[in-house]
């Protein structure tokens, strides 16, 4: 209870789902063989934290920001450039963190302060404009960021796959640097999600929800909404940048496609909405569903597309082509805003499982 900040999942099915997801993630190196499974698991961890930080903005303050991948990218690039420039040592990792996190927070502060000047309705548009300018900037400053190619780098000795920490023991598993990196990603992501849970359940988080419901009223009650919103922005940016750092450490690479592109922003939006806005737990569910679908559904679509083209159906092969999976996701997105605006978590909390809570809605 303490760990969850007094905000348990509040649904038996949801609890079960979360436990299964977390156990499966924790045991991935031993349960599922192969590099792909481990990659997917690491990506789920990173995105769960990233999406949870976005949920702090979207779900708890109700402001739509399109600059979240920018902060994610700042984290990724900071660590990548540091490790690329200074060589694979821990001082470089520390430099990346020390430069990246404050930079993200400062930029969030600047955007927050600037958008105070204009109507709240403009916030989404301004963040979109700033994020797209940043994206162009990152691809143009190729001497620093490697342009479209991005930056590949080496990790410190300890985290490399070649480093064997525990050689094959009784059970036939080998613990190497890669698996250590995975657990680093897993543990830090989990810590960040727990910290976010703490934030949203603190008095500060309650004020954010009050602002979401009725900003005018929150202001009338004497809360400095400007301060709260900007603070929430900076917090979310910090977590997003940290998630970016983890992502770069895992991929040993930072580039526009993996850390800055607008499609990642859309992915994050989809994950929040599918999982359930304003719940934090939704981030874990949304990220898991989305990334599993991204990695495994696509091959299924490929099979379906082939079958359709062999059957000589018009149009269907094109629509079912694996590259078109975003189309179906987009439809799912619209459908979920229509029919389950509260997402999977909201559904589980108030729809099925928990009858007592369902009665009140």
């Amino acid at each position: 209870m303490m760990l969850l900040s007094g905000d348990p999942p509040r649904s038996r099915v949801l609890t079960l789902l979360l436990v299964v997801i977390i156990l499966a993630l924790a045991a991935t190196p031993f349960l599922f063989p192969g590099a792909k499974a481990l990659n997917v698991a690491a990506k789920i961890c990173v995105f769960a934290a990233l999406v949870a930080s976005y949920d702090l903005l979207l779900g708890y303050t109700g402001s739509v920001s399109f600059a979240h991948t920018m902060f994610y990218g700042i984290g990724s690039y900071a660590i990548a450039i540091a490790l690329y420039g200074m060589g694979p040592n821990w001082a470089a990792v520390a430099t990346g963190i020390v430069v990246g996190l404050p930079l993200a927070a400062l930029l969030a502060l600047a955007i927050g302060l600037f958008s105070l000047r204009v109507a709240a309705i403009f916030f989404a548009m301004i963040t979109l404009a700033v994020a797209s300018a940043f994206q162009v900037l990152a691809s143009q400053l190729s001497w620093l960021t490697g342009g479209e190619d991005g930056r590949s780098f080496q990790l410190p000795e300890l985290l490399r796959p070649g480093t064997v920490l525990i050689s094959k023991n009784l059970f036939g598993f080998e613990i190497n640097g890669r698996i250590l990196t995975f657990y680093l990603v897993f543990a830090i992501s989990a810590l960040m999600i727990l910290a976010l849970l703490r934030v949203v359940n603190s008095p500060f988080g309650r004020v954010l929800q009050a602002i979401r419901e009725n900003r005018f009223r929150a202001e009338a009650l004497g809360f400095r909404t400007v301060f709260h919103l900007t603070y929430a922005n900076c917090l979310a940016a910090l977590v997003a940048a940290s998630a970016g750092i983890l992502n770069a450490l895992w991929l040993r690479y930072a580039g526009p496609d993996t850390s800055l592109s607008f499609s990642i922003m859309l992915d994050i939006l989809l994950m929040v909405v599918i999982g359930g806005m304003g719940t934090i737990y939704g981030a874990i569910i949304g990220a898991t569903i989305f990334i599993l679908a991204q990695n495994y559904l696509q091959s299924l679509m490929g099979v379906a597309s082939k079958a359709a083209s062999e059957a000589g159906l018009p149009l269907l092969p094109g629509l079912l082509h694996p590259d078109r999976w975003l189309l179906w996701l987009g439809l799912l997105f619209i459908a979920s805003v229509y029919f389950f605006p509260t997402g999977v978590v909201g559904r589980l909390r108030h729809g099925g499982g928990d009858k007592s809570a369902g009665a009140s809605h």
């Binding site: 739509v64 404009a129 149009l315 629509l319 078109r324 997105f333 619209i334 805003v337």
Partner: protein, 336 residues
């Protein structure tokens, strides 16, 4: 205060000239910086043409924002759809596009543009009914819904036309430039300027000289009051939305010809530009949108010529500067 007699005409509202002078001043200030007058003229013509195209795409959006307080993040989809639809007409008639006769070229271009507008407008009808109607008054859901719509539209275009870039060459008679002394002005830019001006004048006439326009302007200023007077503002809004979508489609065709290529991702880059224009101009203000579009294009052209490195962030800087001066955009027409 001066006393007004009962049958005196109402005092004219004060004209706010400062925003109009802004692009003029900017252009004049650039003469010494650019140096050669002929380059300056070419750049200015380029900015005006580009500004007109952006204006055509953004005008619908600013009215939709202003009139119904709807945040449409899917406006870019209409632009891309318009451009793709035009290829349907232009590709089969490639021969008459190659012919060196202005009238034959226009005989293909005009139907292509009209078809694009019709399809985008019809799509606007569907989008308004299906995506926006259920979420009136809820900004968060509007953004989510229309973003979803944008994804679906883009992916459908990819599925139908394939992910490759489709070339869209200019017709022969619109290639090349008018040469006046040592000033070269591309012919297509002149056409774009003419169309943009025509659209601007048409919108201004409808807004300021017709009852429909009166209702739209009144709706932008105070929606509830128009409704209370018994007008069905939802229907009015549907009309504005469809017109805006059709104009976006037209803008898409023009932009595709300008770039001589069509790609579904063109909507992404343009969406950002259009948002900046709408913010700079002020919600719901056509005049502001017009000036904003020209300013954005000027900054892009002059900036690209003088300091290419700065061109990346120049639009953001412009937006920051304008909003520091007038926080609600050049012309604040809404009561919100």
């Amino acid at each position: 205060m001066t006393e007004l007699a009962a049958n005196d005409p109402l005092p004219k509202p004060k004209r706010d000239l400062a925003p109009i002078l802004l692009p003029v001043a900017l252009a004049l200030a650039m003469i010494p910086l650019v140096g050669s007058p002929s380059t300056w003229l070419t750049l200015t013509a380029a900015s005006l043409a580009m500004g007109m195209m952006i204006f055509i795409m953004a005008s619908g959006l600013t009215l939709v924002f202003g009139l119904m307080d709807v945040l449409n993040f899917g406006h870019g989809a209409f632009i891309a759809v318009g451009a793709y639809v035009a290829t349907l007409v232009l590709a089969p008639f490639a021969a008459s596009m190659q012919a060196d006769s202005l009238w034959m070229n226009l005989a293909v271009l005009a139907p292509a543009a009209l078809l694009s507008m019709a399809v985008s407008g019809a799509l606007g009808l569907v989008v308004e009914r299906v995506l926006i109607l259920p979420v009136y008054g809820q900004h968060l859901k509007q953004i989510l819904m229309t973003t979803g719509g944008l994804i679906v539209a883009e992916q459908t275009l990819y599925a139908l036309w394939g992910p490759q870039i489709i070339p869209m060459p200019l017709p022969t008679s619109l290639r090349g430039s008018f040469i006046l002394g040592d000033v070269a002005i591309a012919k297509y830019r002149v056409l774009a300027m003419l169309i943009g001006l025509a659209v601007f004048i048409a919108i201004q006439l409808v807004l300021n000289r017709t009852k429909l326009g009166l209702l739209i302007r009144a709706g932008v200023e105070n929606r509830e009051m128009v409704e209370a007077l018994g007008y069905r503002i939802r229907r009015l809004f549907l009309g504005v939305f469809m017109t805006g979508s059709a104009l976006a489609g037209l803008g898409g065709v023009m932009w595709a010809l300008y770039r001589e290529q069509v790609h579904a991702s063109m909507s992404d880059d343009l969406t950002v530009l259009i948002f900046i224009v709408v913010i700079i101009g002020g919600l719901g203000s056509i005049g502001g949108c017009f000036i904003g579009a020209i300013l954005v294009a000027m900054v892009a052209n002059y900036g690209g010529f003088l300091v290419p490195k700065l061109a990346l962030v120049s639009n953001i800087l412009l937006m920051v500067a304008i909003l520091m001066w007038r926080p609600r955009g050049l012309y604040a027409v809404t009561s919100r």
